[in-house]
Symmetry: none
Subunit: 232 residues, 2 copies
DNA sequence: CAGTTCAATGACAGTTGTGCGACAGTCCGG
DNA sequence: CCGGACTGTCGCACAACTGTCATTGAACTG
């Protein structure tokens, strides 16, 4: 969840298709249409994966890929090449340039999503990992289970997503607004205090007995998953 | 990420759009509608970046930019010019005048935000950095934590912002009025002495035992973060 | 050195933010 | 159609935070 992807593609319809399907997977998707624009973005922001069209206005895909590999900061950034069928012969060259995978257009959407996921899981395990662990707390995305000190903890769907989101960025403080956007959804109209209530419920479920609280309240700012949880 | 930005723009709708998006990024945004007003603000306060409309009532954008460059205090202040499409040809003149970047209206919001971010990161790394470090003192914006000599220090929201602001410009002296504007907010009517009290509280929290004081009082002027802190 | 100005400190009251319990509306499965 | 699980909102209590004031102390001035 919440990996950031950059699409470099000049065909708008394709951007829409890709964006729609990847956002449905919970990824954060940004798109640019030109190679040189992409270079700017990559210099300014950090992404977890890049989808690169072979043929591009501006800097060509293959050239861009080479430059991505050349810059130290992006040398290990996963790149997936998109090639038209006729260019398939070039795939060897593409992989030689340093792409981690290539997908031939037109592609089947589920296959496409699977390839992206697989590559993310390989390169950024903490983003795609199915199990998040901190101290004696364990969250399994696949089975939708949470365990604390070996015992199963029952959470509602909302509390589950809330904990998942918090655990993804241990230590980082999120405002109530950010939490509403990330956990509830982008265009919901909900009182910010509601977040408090759910954090409270999450805590109650998570800390039976006298177990320590993994969630930190930052007065005036928001909530965070305690980065030192389980280490001290 | 608590950079202070000044927008100089006469189109109110545009101000709203910009303000909304930049505040969502965590920036502190102030806006004025006239060039001469902007000059006043710039003389009284310190900003990290200025967004300047090309066409303005009062002092024109290009003229204002020139004056910003002429004053020593603002000579290196990053400036982004906003130009309408028709004026694109003028961009050379704009850049020659000393703008660091220009954006053509209408612009895409994500691109706009990216440009602002990029320029800030380039020009004021300490403003964009998520962790500020000086000697044995450490302020982490993401996790909202402050450490002194390895130990966590608890600060109230105000004290946190105050320290953050001071650390952003080590050595620079800020008057109480400037501190009130920057840390408390622009339209608050609060006794200037209150700043003293909070600096006092901050010091107490920051200097347990016999640790040296990172905050310097400048009699008759204000306060500064000690520029030599940790280096001597 | 005495007088004046400005800053530090401790106390106090007022304000704000958070935790918590209660309750009502909604959704879904049986 | 009913019951249980889940969710959003309220109101209250309490603790944390903040602004002001009075007093003390330090630094500058002539």
């Amino acid at each position: 969840m919440s990996a950031r992807l950059l699409i470099v593609e000049d065909e708008e319809a394709l951007i829409l298709l890709i964006r729609y399907n990847l956002e449905a997977e919970g990824y954060q998707v940004e798109a640019v249409e030109r190679g040189d624009e992409a270079e700017l973005r990559l210099a300014e922001e950090t992404y977890d994966l890049v989808l690169l069209d072979w043929m591009l206005p501006g800097t060509s895909g293959i050239e861009l890929c080479r430059r991505i590999r050349a810059r130290r900061e992006t040398a290990s950034l996963p790149v997936i090449m998109l090639t038209a069928r006729g260019e398939e012969a070039e795939r060897v060259r593409g992989l030689a340039t340093g792409a981690d995978d290539y997908i031939v257009k037109p592609f089947s959407v589920p296959e496409f999503v699977a390839r992206v996921k697989a590559l993310l899981r390989r390169s950024r395990p903490e983003v795609a990992a199915s199990v998040l662990i901190a101290g004696d707390l364990e969250l399994d995305r696949d089975s939708h289970r949470v365990r604390r000190a070996g015992r199963d903890v029952h959470l509602g769907p909302l509390e589950f997503r809330l904990l998942e989101f918090l655990m993804q960025a241990p230590g980082r403080v999120h405002t109530r607004e950010q939490l509403l956007n990330a956990v509830w959804g982008r265009d919901v109209y909900i009182d910010e205090r509601t977040v408090d209530v759910h954090v409270g419920r999450l805590r109650k479920a998570l800390n039976p007995g006298r177990l320590s609280d993994p969630i930190r309240t930052v007065r005036g700012a928001g909530y965070a998953f305690s980065e030192t949880f389980g280490t001290g």
